[in-house]
């Protein structure tokens, strides 16, 4: 795969009341062509700033930014206008032009790019069909629901056939169901049109449902990056762990554990369930060591089409027997023994 957006040692400082505020600090990120790349972080982490550097709505204080093979770091505002035609952007609050119809909103970037009227009309119809709003072409934005408005926002962002779409909290103003619809649409944009999508979010659920890879941002620094599966399975930083635990509830928390340990005498272990699913093979054979097992807690789902989850088990038997079972489990997956 080839890189489509590269940030090398990018730093951004704002001057506020005579003092420098560092919004981004030495960021290195490479987004591959055709992927959905998520950037997650808490409020103020610098996510919006980062994504706005890509299309030049903000300028980096230092560092290098390469978009589609072109180093845009030193670009003037005028040079950026052309770059922006190749990058669509969608926003948390949709930012539609209230004075224009749905069709007028979608046509705006085409007018800017100088498309003749017939081609423009045809393209607008095609886009509205793609987002399922052909029948609302002559409505005004304030006559549409939030989800519909975001669809218009997506159609507008796609108008000039960009190779990149930037989505800054595109679903944060929507209810859960509409969020899924919009995420499905973004996935369709990525899969059917081959558009690279960079998604900014503070919701791990968004990352889980559409992203291929994710970077975690904290106070202007990139603290973690990897495939979504990797980051979910092995979050290294506390921030990443907190994000993961906000959507993954397979593992018992402290309260759950206390309750379980109050009711169960045996040793309690939590084993990760991976995609190869050999846990059953070990468990069906624990009697060999004179050990019995009970499933106390857990859950298994899918993440990027791979099984993902964990099971918390009570193992009863001799210490040596239980030790042997734990060793066998450790040979195939990660196992954590919950201390009493």
């Amino acid at each position: 795969m080839a890189a489509i957006v590269e940030l090398h040692g990018v730093t951004k400082q704002y001057r506020v009341d005579g003092k420098d505020v560092t919004a981004l600090d030495g960021i290195d990120i490479t987004v591959e062509r055709g992927e959905i790349f998520a950037i997650i972080g808490y409020s103020g982490a610098g996510k919006s700033t980062l994504v706005r550097l890509v299309n030049g709505l903000e300028r980096a204080t230092s560092g290098r930014i390469v978009v589609d093979g072109t180093d845009v770091s030193g670009f003037t505002e005028r040079q950026f206008l052309r770059v922006r035609t190749g990058i669509g952007m969608i926003f948390q609050r949709f930012n539609l032009f209230r004075s224009r119809t749905v069709a007028g909103n979608v046509a705006y970037p085409l007018r800017v790019a100088g498309w003749p009227k017939e081609r423009r009309d045809a393209r607008v119809a095609e886009l509205l069909d793609f987002v399922g709003l052909l029948d609302r072409a002559y409505s005004y934005p304030d006559q549409l629901s939030g989800g519909q408005q975001q669809r218009v926002g997506i159609a507008r962002a796609l108008a000039t056939n960009p190779s990149i779409v930037l989505a800054d909290e595109a679903t944060s103003a929507l209810d859960p169901e509409t969020t899924q619809d919009v995420l499905d649409l973004l996935r369709k944009v990525n899969r059917e049109l081959g558009v690279t999508v960079i998604v900014i979010t503070h919701e791990m659920e968004v990352v889980r449902s559409i992203a291929d890879r994710v970077a975690v941002l904290d106070s202007g620094r990139k603290i973690e990056e990897g495939s979504v599966y990797e980051v979910f399975a092995h979050p290294r930083t506390d921030t990443a762990k907190r994000f993961v635990s906000s959507v993954v509830h397979n593992e018992p928390n402290a309260g759950d554990l206390e309750r379980l340990q109050g009711r169960h005498e045996g040793r309690i272990v939590t084993a990760r369930v991976g995609e190869d699913g050999r846990l059953g093979a070990v468990l069906s054979d624990v009697a060999r060591h004179g050990v019995r097992f009970e499933i106390l807690f857990g859950g298994i789902g899918a993440l990027q089409q791979r099984a993902f989850g964990s099971l918390t088990l009570e193992l009863t038997g001799s210490d040596a027997g239980v030790d042997a079972v734990i060793a066998e489990l450790r040979a195939i997956t990660e196992v954590k023994e919950e201390s009493r």
Binding site: E77, L81, R82, R84, M89, F91, N95, R98, Y140
Partner: protein, 222 residues
């Protein structure tokens, strides 16, 4: 002439005065309105963080507007006298009154324009920038339509103020309804004539306001 309304004497005078007022108001709104719109756009665009931020230009425009705007209209007439003479060649008449009227309108309207434009959501401007539109294109194609409803209401406000000012301007030779009320009513102790002029002005203002409200509602689609 007695101190009452006499149709055969006063009606032709009233109609002529109405015509002059209409002429002065139209010319004033055309010139002052366009210049005010341009000045308002310039104030909006050069403000910090806006489309064409320029500290020096903004500060200069801001100071000029702040100086001119509070000058009472009657004093403005006197103050711009040299300019008026220069532009109209000393010609006394309706056009002469239009110079101070247009200046007052321009500066008054510019603030109203600026105030309405700054209420446009920054996100909307950002969306236009993200789609590759340059600052001049955004100023030319997006900014005014996005604030059209409030701009029409602001223009209506200025329209009414101009009708008011033309009455004063009449005294310096502009003619019109104000002049009619003073010359044929007040100065001749003819209260009825004054009241007819007042009623005509009230009706005029009501009509303008209704029209403005209607247009603004259409622009806002409510």
């Amino acid at each position: 002439m007695r101190n009452t309304w006499e149709g055969d004497v006063h009606l032709p005078l009233l109609i002529e005065a109405l015509g002059k007022t209409g002429y002065m108001v139209s010319l004033t709104l055309l010139i002052g309105g366009l210049l005010g719109l341009a000045l308002g756009l310039a104030l909006y665009a050069t403000r910090q963080g806006s489309l064409l931020p320029n500290r020096a230009v903004f500060a200069a425009l801001n100071v000029i507007v702040n100086i001119v705007r509070p000058i009472p209209f009657i004093i403005l007439i006197a103050a711009v006298q040299p300019l008026t003479v220069l532009l109209t060649g000393g010609y006394i008449g309706t056009e002469r009154a239009v110079i101070p009227l247009a200046i007052a309108t321009m500066f008054g309207f510019s603030r109203i324009v600026e105030q309405n434009l700054v209420t446009i959501e920054p996100g909307v401007i950002e969306a236009a920038r993200a789609s590759g539109a340059g600052p001049w294109r955004i100023l030319g194609t997006l900014v005014i339509p996005e604030a059209l409803g409030p701009l029409i209401l602001g223009f209506t406000f200025v329209f009414v103020a101009v009708i008011d000012m033309t009455a004063v301007a009449g005294i310096v030779g502009g003619g019109g309804l104000g002049n009619f009320a003073i010359s044929y009513g007040f100065q001749r102790y003819n209260t009825e004539v004054v009241w007819v002029a007042v009623i005509v002005i009230i009706v005029l203002v009501q009509l303008v306001q209704l029209l403005g409200n209607w247009l603004a509602r259409k622009a806002l689609r409510r």
